[in-house]
């Protein structure tokens, strides 16, 4: 399973999101210290889920970091996160 599929599966199971984009941005970080051959090191996640209702920004990120703890301990080097509850989601 690719890292993208793995992240998508974990987040889908944890948060039942209304919207979930998992974008591999590893190619933007070629030559950066965290980059490795084969990529799959830098990801961006846009997620909209009722699970984030009433949670602070730090709490939302911690929830996602917890769901992806195994990945973050492995080859996942950087994770950009935009986490919103349904009412907040803009265009």
């Amino acid at each position: 399973m690719s890292a993208k599929d793995d992240i998508t599966k974990k987040l889908s199971e944890a948060f039942a999101p209304q919207r979930l984009d998992v974008i591999d941005e590893s190619h933007l970080h070629e030559g950066h210290s965290g980059h490795r051959h084969g990529g799959e090191t830098h990801f961006r996640v846009n997620i909209v889920s009722p699970a984030f209702e009433g949670k602070s920004r730090v709490e939302r990120h911690r929830m996602i970091n917890t769901a992806l703890a195994a990945e973050l301990a492995g080859q996942l080097h950087a994770l950009a996160i935009k986490a919103q509850a349904p009412g907040e989601a803009g265009a």
Binding site: H29, H32, S33, R57, V58, H61, R62, N65, A69, L72, A73, A78, L79, A80, I81, K82
Partner: protein, 110 residues
Amino acid sequence: MSIEQFIENEVKSNDVVLFMKGTPQFPQCGFSGQVVQILDHVGVGYKGLNVLESADLRDGIKTYSNWPTIPQLYVKGEFVGGCDIIREMFQAGELQQLLADKGITVAASA
């Protein structure tokens, strides 16, 4: 002094502390660089600590904050967030408000 004691001392004795890769003058990571630019734009003084100089510090701050990535911003001893959170707060005016609420003076931004 343990690394936890070192970190605690830094975040309690400096109003604003940024744990980052590289230095404020020469960030060595795009995410750290973004937070440096925001803090400079807001005009707040801060202490930058380079985690690339110490594996103990790099691992220690992740454990201390229970946060897996760098950069990390502390204001008055409290963890505020990483790059995405600082940028969102800055764009919403919340970062400036937080600094004002904590009684931290900022220079008028250019």
